[in-house]
């Protein structure tokens, strides 16, 4: 049979295209359930919350579903209240201190574990334990430790410095904040440590050998080899860590319970209080939208800045 020039080529191309389309359909088919779940669990609640923030929804009219539109009233109210700026400041302080401590201690421990150490496996296991424990249990345990009358920390302080050294860990908002930071730092170190350790182990040893030959000091090796090569690994970890910490409800909520003054709140716990203690759902929704926008801005700015640094 005589065939046209390029017939077999066209056949191959058509066959390849057909196989590619089938492959694409298969991929889409596998993605559909995930997309559906994301739509239901993420997109719909987000849109609902944004809509809610422009209405007036309180306990009295909640059941009636008769929710009047109030435009930007909720947002105006939030920005006019001094407490918003106080809790925003608390949140930024909370996030910066926690993430800085997580990175500092996590990286430090990772650098130690990246050497030859006797019993390294067991040490690593012990250091990962906080990550393995449920947050709720951790918060309750720390709450017990910080108990003002019977907690271990105050008992030790009293034994060493006398009863005047006992601190109001769970009643004074300043100390509630500090106690929560301590608990959260303890909780968050293992994640950064493991990410860092993975990154360190992927760095080619030849770089260090070359630096050794050039007479570089340990500090120079850290500054010029380790840190730059860890950046691609640490950047997403820091972004994730910052977002999680910014939105961390459990620790402050459990440590302080209902008894914390507004001064110890961060944005997300304050929004929770407004919704579930004061039953002002639309005000709380507006708060949540503001938190979302802050985090979206932060994440995109951070990634952009990292990309620009890489280009340079």
């Amino acid at each position: 049979m005589r065939v046209k020039k390029g017939y077999y080529n066209n056949l191959q191309i058509k066959s390849a295209k057909g196989s590619f389309n089938r492959e694409k359909n298969k991929i889409l088919l596998f993605l559909i359930p995930t997309v559906l779940v994301m739509l239901l669990v993420v997109v719909y609640p987000l849109i609902f919350e944004i809509v809610l923030s422009f209405k007036r929804v309180v306990l009295q009219n909640l059941r009636s579903w008769n929710w009047p539109n109030v435009g930007f009233d909720n947002y105006n109210r939030i920005f006019q209240e001094p407490i918003f700026y106080k809790v925003l400041g608390n949140t930024l302080l909370w996030t910066v201190i926690n993430v800085a401590c997580h990175v500092f201690f996590g990286m430090g421990l990772a650098l130690l574990l990246n050497r030859k150490l006797p019993g390294k496996g067991i040490i690593r296991l012990i250091l990962i334990l906080p990550w393995a424990m449920p947050e709720y249990i951790v918060a309750l345990t720390w709450k017990g430790l910080f108990n003002e009358e019977f907690g271990t920390i105050n008992v030790v302080l009293k034994a060493i410095f006398g009863s005047d050294a006992m601190l109001p860990w769970l009643s004074d908002p300043k100390y509630v904040f500090i106690a929560s930071i301590i608990a959260n730092v303890w909780l968050g170190i293992p994640f950064i440590m493991m990410v860092c350790l993975g990154g360190l182990q992927s760095i080619d040893k030849e770089y260090y050998e070359a630096a050794e030959v050039d007479g570089a000091s340990n500090w120079q090796k850290l500054k010029n080899i380790t840190l730059p090569l860890l950046k691609p690994v640490m950047t997403p970890a820091i972004i994730l860590g910052s977002v999680w910490t910014f939105n961390k409800v459990n620790i402050i909520y459990i440590m302080a319970g209902n008894n914390v003054s507004d001064d110890a709140h961060i944005l997300v716990t304050y929004a929770m209080k407004k919704a579930f203690n004061n039953y002002n759902y639309s005000y709380s929704a507006a708060f949540a939208v503001i938190i979302f926008l802050i985090l979206a801005l932060f994440s995109s700015s951070f990634i952009k800045a990292q990309k620009m640094n890489q280009v340079r």
Partner: protein
């Protein structure tokens, strides 16, 4: 490898099936009517509720009663969420200030609609008034009191003090001897426990008179005097530096404080601690009585019942009647220690145990908690201000103003 893969697939299917079918009831339960109750009771009271449920279901085999426990804050938010969605319990048992909160959201129904007017004739009037909002009985009270009393450790105190001045002097000697740490163990994180001290200065006034909705009236010279007094007690270690319920309980049970302010629910706890304890009415301050806030605990009927079948409503009427009967109230009273609201049960209880006479005496000198939602928010406001006062964040002179500002803000939040 193939076998492992097949095994994993098989296990996944089983797991999925278990998850998918976990919500299914047993077929035999389909014929029975189910009543769901949510409550915030203590351990000992829950045990009695279970006995009552067992007795009821034995006599009514076509009815199942399920009880779920929540702490008060969770009870409030979970019930609101559930009722909003048209689900949740049929009955909620909680304190009367929560009645106002639920009523404001139309989450509970007036109980006369279900039980009829005649049903209420056996309850004491002051208990019914405590859950009466705008002329309707939004709950059925099952115990009267919730009032705070003065417990004392008989091993440290021979005769309990009748005034705070006497109490402080009495315990000062014990402190000098190194026998105790504080004079009185009490919670410092809840304004309910400071309210008796407050009432000795303010007479128990919290709201302006004749205002609907209720308007707080807390920015007063009397509140400043109270704040100065409580700050002094705190500074002089008469009351603990900081303490929740468990801390206060531990201080009393371990003998670190000879006096203890708590309610009738603590009777069973003190018995279980094998202490030689006594109870009396709260002392006076400068000749003025310390008046605790009294309340009732009540059974509320969820709005979801409006859509229920006639059979379900009949079952609910039966159960409520059984739960609030004289016999059930007497059983429950032994566990929670408070006076029954059934008139006959209350008379019988007072004859059986002299402790009820002390409660009756304290109740006569108490301030009834209004059931309105504004009261819940005022407690929240006083809690915040109290913490700031005790930690030195605000001065006593600012305490009343702070309470007032926060109460107004929280009430405004409720109204949107």
């Amino acid at each position: 490898m193939k076998t492992v893969r097949r095994l994993l697939v098989f296990l996944s299917i089983i797991l999925f099936a278990m998850t998918a079918f976990s919500g299914c009831k047993l077929l035999e339960d389909d014929d029975k009517i189910q009543i769901v109750i949510w409550e915030d009771e203590s351990d000992s009271v829950r045990a009695v509720h279970d006995e009552i449920i067992e007795e009821f279901t034995k006599a009514n085999p076509d009815i199942i009663v399920k009880r779920t426990h929540y702490e008060l804050q969770d009870l409030k938010s979970n019930f609101i969420n559930a009722a909003m969605a048209g689900h949740g319990p049929d009955l909620v048992i909680g304190p009367n200030d929560v009645v106002g909160l639920f009523q404001s959201g139309d989450l509970i129904i007036p109980t006369e609609e279900l039980m009829g007017e005649e049903f209420f004739s056996r309850f004491s009037k002051n208990a019914l008034d405590a859950v009466n909002i705008n002329g309707k009985q939004y709950a059925i009270p099952d115990r009267n009191g919730n009032e705070l009393l003065l417990f004392y450790n008989k091993e440290l105190i021979d005769k309990p003090a009748s005034s705070m001045e006497e109490l402080i002097e009495q315990t000062h000697v014990l402190k000098e001897e190194g026998k105790i740490q504080y004079s009185i163990a009490c919670r410092t994180d809840e304004p309910f426990f400071f309210f008796p001290f407050q009432s000795a200065f303010t007479g128990g006034k919290v709201f302006k008179e004749h205002t609907i909705p209720l308007e707080p009236d807390l920015d007063t010279p009397e509140m400043t005097e109270f704040a100065r007094y409580i700050k002094k007690l705190h500074k002089d270690r008469v009351i603990p530096r900081a303490g929740d319920y468990n801390v206060a309980k531990a201080l009393f049970e371990e003998g670190k404080a000879p006096y203890y302010i708590n309610g009738p629910w603590a009777f069973v706890e003190c018995d279980n601690a094998n202490m030689d304890w006594g109870v009396t009415v709260l002392p006076t301050i400068n000749g003025n009585p310390m008046k605790p806030s009294s309340a009732v605990k009540a059974v509320m009927v969820s709005v979801v019942i409006e859509e229920a079948s006639e059979a379900k409503k009949e079952a609910l009427i039966k159960y409520i009647d059984f739960l609030t009967s004289k016999e059930s109230q007497l059983k429950l009273s032994k566990a929670h220690g408070q006076l029954p609201t059934d008139k006959e049960a209350a008379e019988e209880a007072m004859i059986l145990d002299p402790i009820y006479e002390i409660q009756e005496a304290q109740l006569e000198n108490s301030v009834a908690t209004p059931p309105y939602q504004e009261m819940t928010k005022t407690w929240d406001a006083m809690r915040d201000a109290q913490m700031e006062l005790l930690t030195g964040k605000i001065k006593p002179e600012d305490y009343g103003r702070k309470c007032q500002e926060k109460a107004i803000q929280y009430i405004k939040d409720l109204q949107g």
